[in-house]
Symmetry: C2
C-alpha cells in the first residue's frame, strides 16, 4: 500500500509520499530531486534514537554527506535561540545553497527546520519526514514554517515549501498515545471543514485513540484524505489570502489557550480539540450550524479521547485579550472559522463580544 500525492503551487511543486517503511527509501527518493550532496538532519534526541541510524544509512547509501543536529523535544524549544544553533550547525557542516535540511520529527522539528532552511543563505532545500500523526496530516504539508515569540505562537516565520514530504505510518508505533490523539484532532478537523465522508468513517470506527487499536487500513485512509484536503486548500491559496484560513478551524481559540498556559498544560492537538468545541458552540449560537451536528462533532472528539474544556484557571478577559494578538486579526477584528454543515465552514469576524465571552465561560464548566 502506497500513495503519492502532488502539491502544485504557482512557484513550485512537490510530492507527499505515503508508504510503510518509507524511511528506508529516503535516500533514493531524495536522489531523484537534483539536490546537492550535503544534508543536515535535524531531529530531537528521542526520535533520533529510534530512527536516526536508519535515515542516515539510507541517505549515505544514496551518496549524501550527512551531519546531524539535535534540538531538545518540546514546544518550549521552538524559539529563535534554537534556530541560531541550527545556523551554527549549518555553518559547521558548510552547507551550500544546493544543500538540504531534513526534518525528522514532529511539528516542532518540522516548523523549525523549515524556517531555518528558509532563512539560511536566503533559502536552501528542505525535506519533511514527519514522525508524529499531527505533523503527517498537518504541519508537514503546506509550507508554514516558524517559531514562537514569547507573546504568541508562530508569530515569527515564513511560507516556505519542502522539496518532498515523506510519510512512513509505521513510525507511529513509537509515538506516545497522547500525541497520537493530538494528531486525530486535526484529522477530525478535516472531516468538519472539508470531507464529510471522512467524518462519517471516523464516527463509524472504533479504536481511534491509539496506533495499537486503530485499523491500519483506516489509518492509511486518514493520512491520504487529510493530506489531500490540506494540499487542495493550500494549492488554491498558498499565502493564506482567503480560503486557507479555514485550516485554522479550532485554532484561533486553541492558540490562545496554548499560549496562556505556556504550552505546558495542553498540547497543540488538544488545544485545537478544545477550540473546535468552542467554535461549534459559537456557530450553533449564531444559528450558523445545527446543534445536532455540533454535538456529533463533540461526541467524536470525546470518543477519540480528546479534551473539550477550556482550562478553568484562565480568565475570560485574558483569553479575549490574547485573541487580539492572533495573526488572523484583521482591522482589529478577530476572525473565526465556523461550521455551517459537516464538511463546510465560513470565515467571519462578526462574532458579538458577549456571545464570545458567553461561549468561553460555558466551555470552562461544560
Amino acid at each position: 500500500m502506497a500513495a503519492v500525492l502532488r502539491v502544485d503551487l504557482p512557484d513550485t511543486a512537490y510530492e507527499i509520499a505515503i508508504a510503510p517503511q518509507n524511511l528506508d527509501t529516503i535516500g533514493t527518493q531524495m536522489a531523484g530531486l537534483n539536490l546537492g550532496k550535503k544534508v543536515l538532519l535535524i531531529s530531537n534526541p528521542e526520535i533520533e534514537q529510534f530512527y536516526g541510524d536508519r535515515v542516515r544509512d539510507a541517505l549515505s547509501t544514496a551518496g549524501f554527506n550527512v551531519a546531524t543536529h539535535l534540538i531538545p523535544a518540546g514546544e518550549e524549544y521552538k524559539t529563535l535561540a534554537s534556530i541560531e544553533q541550527v545556523y551554527d550547525a549549518a555553518l559547521a557542516h558548510r552547507l551550500e545553497r544546493s544543500s538540504t535540511m531534513v526534518a525528522l520529527g514532529g511539528g516542532v522539528i518540522g516548523d523549525m527546520t523549515g524556517f531555518a532552511a528558509a532563512t539560511w543563505l536566503r533559502g536552501i532545500n528542505f525535506v519533511q519526514a514527519p514522525t508524529s500523526l499531527l505533523a503527517m496530516v498537518d504541519a508537514s504539508v503546506g509550507g508554514k514554517t516558524g517559531v514562537n515569540h514569547p507573546q504568541g505562537k508562530n508569530l515569527i516565520g515564513a511560507f516556505y515549501q519542502p522539496k518532498l514530504v515523506l510519510i512512513d505510518p509505521t513510525v507511529l508505533a513509537t509515538l506516545p498515545p497522547r500525541e497520537f490523539r493530538a494528531g486525530m484532532a486535526e484529522v477530525i478537523k478535516y472531516g468538519v471543514i472539508w470531507d464529510a465522508d471522512l467524518f462519517a468513517q471516523l464516527e463509524a470506527a472504533e479504536g481511534l485513540s491509539s496506533y495499537e487499536t486503530i485499523d491500519s487500513q483506516l489509518l492509511e485512509t486518514i493520512l491520504v484524505r487529510s493530506c489531500q484536503a490540506k494540499a487542495a486548500v493550500v494549492s488554491q491559496d498558498e499565502k493564506e489570502a482567503g480560503l486557507r484560513a479555514i485550516l485554522n478551524y479550532g485554532h484561533t481559540l486553541g492558540h490562545a489557550v496554548e499560549s496562556l498556559t505556556q504550552y505546558r498544560l495542553v498540547n497543540h492537538g488538544e488545544a485545537v480539540a478544545i477550540g473546535m468545541v468552542a467554535a461549534g458552540q459559537l456557530a450553533a449560537q449564531l444559528d450558523l450550524w445545527t446543534t445536532a451536528e455540533a454535538e456529533r462533532q463533540d461526541k467524536l472528539i470525546t470518543q477519540t479521547g480528546l479534551p473539550t474544556q477550556i482550562p478553568g484557571q484562565l480568565a475570560v478577559a485574558e483569553i479575549v485579550d490574547t485573541l487580539q494578538t492572533d495573526k488572523k486579526v484583521k482591522a482589529g477584528k478577530v476572525q473565526f472559522i465556523l461550521p455551517t454543515t459537516l464538511g463546510q465552514v465560513k470565515i467571519t469576524d462578526q462574532v458579538p463580544a458577549e456571545v464570545l465571552a458567553g461561549v468561553i465561560q460555558n466551555c470552562q464548566v461544560c
Copy 2:
C-alpha cells in the same frame, strides 16, 4: 525631474519612484497600494532626526497610524538580536498581516526591515525609503534581505520584495562623503558588469566623490541607470539561480575583507571597490580581460576617492579560508564574477588557487 521604473517578477511587481522631495509624498504614494493602516517606521537615530518628522507627517496626513522603532546605526547592529527588537515593536504596535514596515535609512536598515517584514506573521508588507546612495542603487532593489552571522555577512536572510521603493536624491545632502563614495562603488560596478555607456559617462565626469561636487543631472542618471540595471537582472533571475550572481562582482573578496576586519575598517562600498580591483587583476591574469580596461576601472575607482588595496594585516590564508564560507560557494568551489569587456562579465569557479593567492598578495602591496 522624476522617473518611475517597474520591477516585474513572477510572483509580484513593484515600482521604484525616483524624484526630488519624494519623501513628502510617501503617504499618498503608499495610499494607492492597498495596504493596511498600520505602519512601523524603522530607522536609525541619525536619519530619524533628519527625516523622521517629514515621513511621519506625510504618512499621518494620508491616514496611516505610525509607530517608530530605532536601531543604532552601523553594520555591527545588523544582527538577529536587533530583529528580535523589531518583532517586539511590531507586537507592541499590534501590526497585522496587512500592515507595513517602512525602512528609512541605508542598506543596513533596509536589509533588516525587509527581513523582519519577511518573517513577522510569516510576511507583512514593506516599503523601502533608502537614504544612502548605496541603498538607493543597490540594497533597496531586488528583495535581498537579511542579517549577519558572527561568521559571515548576510548568511541569515530571505528573498522578499518591497511594495515600493521610494528614492529622494535630495536626502543625499546629509550623507557623509565617505558613504557617498561607498555608493559610487556600486555605481561603477554597474558600469563594468552591465552598462558600458554609464561607465564612459562616469569616466568623463568630474566631482564624483561627493554630493556637493557631482552634477545633479548626472546624479539622476546614475540613480536611474543603476536601478534599471539591477531591476533588469533581478527580473530575469529573482532567486539567484544564475544571472543574478553577476551583481556580486567585487563582492566575493569584498565580503571576506569586511568580515575579517569585523566590519570596522572598511565599509561595504569600499570593500566592493577593493574586490573589484582584485577581480580585475584575476580576470587580466587569466586572460579574460585586457589589462588596459582593468586599469581604466582602477583609475575610475581611485578618481572617485575609493580604496584599492586589501588591508595589509590580513593573511592570505585566512582570506582564502573565509572565501570558502561564502554563500556563492558551489560544490566547495568559490565562484568569481570576472569582467571580459566593459559592460560584460562571466561567472567562473575555475580560478587556480595559486593565481588567487598571488592576486591577493599583490593587492596588499599594490
